[in-house]
Amino acid sequence: MVRMPEPVPLADGIDRVIHEPGRLVIMASLYVVESADFLFLTRQTGLTFGNLSSHMSKLEEAGYIEVVKDFVDRKPHTMLRMTRKGRAAFEEYRRRMDGLFKGVR
């Protein structure tokens, strides 16, 4: 009889919304700036427009990012930025992942 290994307790509670690689790099890109537009994020993340759009919808649904209207040279420009909830979630995710890897030899 095969005995299943005990689950790693620290892996519980990892935020699956952030954990997806595409969304993780989007969150990281937005974490280090105040706000950025769609085109800048495609350049920074290397994701296609379609991929980025799909991930953005999920992050917006989770309340981690928001769309804001900014003005550049007095003309409106759509920007994306992380919400407070998103920053807190990202920092918690980092803390959990750091703790997870500290236990790995």
Binding site: V33, F40, T42, Q44, D73
Partner: protein
């Protein structure tokens, strides 16, 4: 997983790519050139022209940078505040020194500080400007500003020994910044074609 994403490197990449266009260099070059030209005249119109350069920066960002790599805003709070304080302090110190020299010009006797400033104004101005440039290069991850700082120190440091008017040195410095910026802008437009993003504002 978190080791694969280096947040410091991502911030560096964001800052350096946004300033790859050379528009910042062009703006500084224009400001220094206007300062240089104004030193040869008593015309106060130059102050108006000087102020008018600042909107040019954002017009150029919108015209050349936004359609190619997009737009980003960097946080002004927290870790960015100390370098800003340092640069502001350096500029304030330079202005204060200018004020002291102007105030004491008609005083008798003059203080040691006055003679220290007037006999070494080029070096002091060069050191202040270069230090501000080095601090800015460090926090904004634009390494070419280290080179600009060295050139600024050399030009201002030799200003009182060349026999040329100070305005000539400003013109030389302005040309260097402007020329560097124009070359970078040319290279930037060749490297990044304009992109069309569905749903993005025109």
């Amino acid at each position: 997983m978190s080791d694969d994403i280096d947040l410091n490197e991502m911030r560096k990449k964001a800052m350096s790519s946004f300033h790859e266009d050379g528009i910042y260099d062009i703006t500084i070059g224009l400001l220094v050139l206007i300062w240089g030209f104004s030193s040869f005249t008593d015309d106060s119109t130059f102050i108006v022209i000087w102020v008018a350069v600042f909107p040019v920066y954002w017009w150029m960002k919108r015209r050349y940078t936004l359609p190619r790599i997009g737009m980003v805003r960097f946080a002004r709070k927290g870790e960015g505040s100390l370098p800003r304080v340092l640069v502001t302090a350096l500029i304030a110190a330079a202005l204060a020194a200018s004020l002291v020299v102007w105030w004491e010009a008609n005083q008798t006797p003059k203080s040691f500080f006055y003679y220290l400033l007037t006999n070494n104004w080029g070096i002091i101005l060069g050191v202040c400007a270069a230090a501000a440039g080095v601090v800015y290069a460090r926090v904004s991850y634009i390494p070419r500003f280290y080179a600009y700082s060295a050139v600024t120190l050399a030009i201002f440091g030799t200003a009182q020994y060349t026999g040329l008017p100070f305005g000539a040195h400003l013109l030389a410095l302005g040309v260097i910044f402007l020329g560097g910026g124009l070359y970078l802008l040319y290279r930037f437009t060749k490297k990044y074609p304009e992109q069309v993003v569905d749903g993005q504002d025109a």
